[in-house]
Amino acid sequence: MENKDIVIPATDDPDTAGFWAAARERRLVVQRCGDCGKMRFPPRPACTCGSFAMGWHEVSGRGRVWSYGVAHAPTLPAFADLVPYVFAVIELADAPHLRMVGNLATSAKAAINSVPQDAVAIGDEVTVAFRPVTDEVTLPVWIPATQSEVVQ
């Protein structure tokens, strides 16, 4: 890895590779059971109904802030220059029982501290965007609706 000052997910785990492959194509997906239709996240090799027919289902990429935290020092060198920054738990509009952790930003390219915590509240509407980090890793990032004018 050229830049050692980052933390990235492994993308070669057979259970989760589909999520990261879709992210590289700027699509947000969750698993959906081919038998019972239940959606789940994080990915698992099987459904609770007993089926192993897990497929990937693209969701709208819209969601709401279920909750959030604001990280302060001390933290890893990769994040030390960014504190304080918000990390949010997003409930998906298509499946509110599924929640993903992600950062908020004013645009796909903006820093993870670009949305100040004063501008964040539980229930805020957000839309996913995608940020390539390495050739393999593209991370979802969430753009608050209140920031959409900034994005224009």
Binding site: A10, I112, L139
Partner: protein
């Protein structure tokens, strides 16, 4: 009553603690051995009689090295319990199971940590490429356990009206207990609400005083059958009930994918524990509740049935967790103010309460409840 029960058939007859502090001399191995030696001496049991061991899966000292160093006999039972802070009571419970079923006669339980140095923090060693559940958290800057807890805490406060002052009351209550305890790292340091509210943030909404200490130290226990316990010089603390818990859909710390994110692992443990226990939540006069972070205390109070859902903050506000409340908690100061030995020092304080030797002794104690960490695969015991 089921003949399969472990109820009251095994007792903690020896307890050992090293000094708790920062920058202690000696290796983790030496600290473990010193605590175990104290526990065996207190119980009047020779090291060669030890035939069983149980510890946390994060324990860095190894069974075979301990056996070699201490002069144990042949070890025929050993177990390691996940998951981090959830495992403490599980080690005691599985030791009791081993003795009750005849798999072992003398079981040593221990936890040794040298965590006071910043370089020893687990989160500081986060891999550059993360796998498993960490893949969904760490790349987004949720690095430390406190980061995993912070959104859970904020949403709980939002939904149930708990406030920072409520969390502060937990920290202040445990600190006041520690101020009476000469073993506590924070014995000499008082804490006011003004200091709490003015403390630096770690991961909002949690500040410095919502987070436990980091500690060098070790704790050990010796368990034997109730029959053998009669011959020991100490007052036995019988393992009355024990349960572990994983709730379907729960995770390690970051439990956002439960349909009900506040029906955590404790609910599974509680159902089993209270089914087996003659002592029910309303009978418990003193409890030691895992407190790596203040909000965990609220969730465990509710999960184990001491409060209804959403009512724990009000319970705290009414002073019920203080020395003169309905349920005095963490009477030695807990993880927040005595020491953080992954909850094992909570077990020793429960033993002291049963023995009647706590520095914040509750009157007429006939039992003591201890639970391990909420939010991870967990465990709980009732001692009497």
């Amino acid at each position: 009553m089921s003949t399969l029960t472990i109820k009251d058939r095994v007792a903690i007859v020896g307890m050992g603690e090293t000094e708790f502090g920062k920058g202690l001399a000696g290796s983790e191995m030496e600290l473990a051995c010193r605590a175990i030696r104290t526990a065996l001496d207190e119980a009047g049991i020779a090291a060669h009689e030890v035939d069983g061991l149980s510890c946390s899966n994060m324990e860095a000292t190894h069974e075979e090295d301990l056996a070699d160093t201490m002069g144990f006999g042949d070890i025929t039972f050993f177990s390691r319990i996940p998951a981090g802070g959830g495992g403490g009571c599980g080690t005691v419970g599985q030791a009791a199971m081993a003795i009750a079923t005849g798999q072992a006669k003398v079981v040593v339980v221990w936890r040794s940590r040298k965590r006071s140095g910043r370089a020893s923090r687990v989160w500081g060693k986060t891999a550059q490429e993360v796998t498993d559940y960490e893949a969904w958290l760490r790349p987004f800057g949720m690095i430390r356990p406190v980061d995993d807890i912070a959104p859970m805490a904020r949403r709980y406060m939002h939904d149930f009206g708990a406030t920072r002052e409520d969390l502060g009351r937990i920290a202040l209550t445990f600190r006041a207990n520690a101020n009476q305890n000469p073993r506590a790292m924070m014995q000499a340091k008082t804490l006011t609400m003004e200091q709490y509210l003015g403390a630096r943030w770690i991961s909002e909404p949690l500040c410095l005083f919502d987070c436990c200490l980091e500690t060098d130290g070790a704790v050990a226990f010796v368990l034997v059958s109730a029959e053998r316990a009669k011959d020991c010089p100490t007052k036995p603390a019988y393992v009355h009930a024990f349960a572990q818990g994983i709730t379907p859909g729960s995770s390690l710390m970051a439990n956002y994918n439960l349909d009900d994110p506040y029906r955590l692992q404790t609910y599974a443990a509680a159902t089993r524990l209270w089914r087996d226990s003659d002592i029910q939540p309303g009978d418990v006069k003193v409890a030691q509740i895992y407190d790596a972070f203040t909000p965990e205390v609220l969730w465990s109070l509710e999960g184990f049935g001491f409060c209804e859902r959403g009512e724990a903050a009000d319970f705290v506000r009414r002073g019920e967790i203080g020395p003169s409340g309905k349920l005095p908690l963490n009477t030695a100061g807990g993880s927040l103010s005595e020491a953080y030995i992954h909850g094992f020092n909570l077990i020793s304080e429960a033993v002291r309460q049963v023995r009647g030797t706590s520095t914040a002794q509750v009157d007429d104690v006939d039992s003591a409840f201890v639970c391990s960490s909420e939010g991870v695969p967990t465990s709980a015991i009732v001692l009497r």
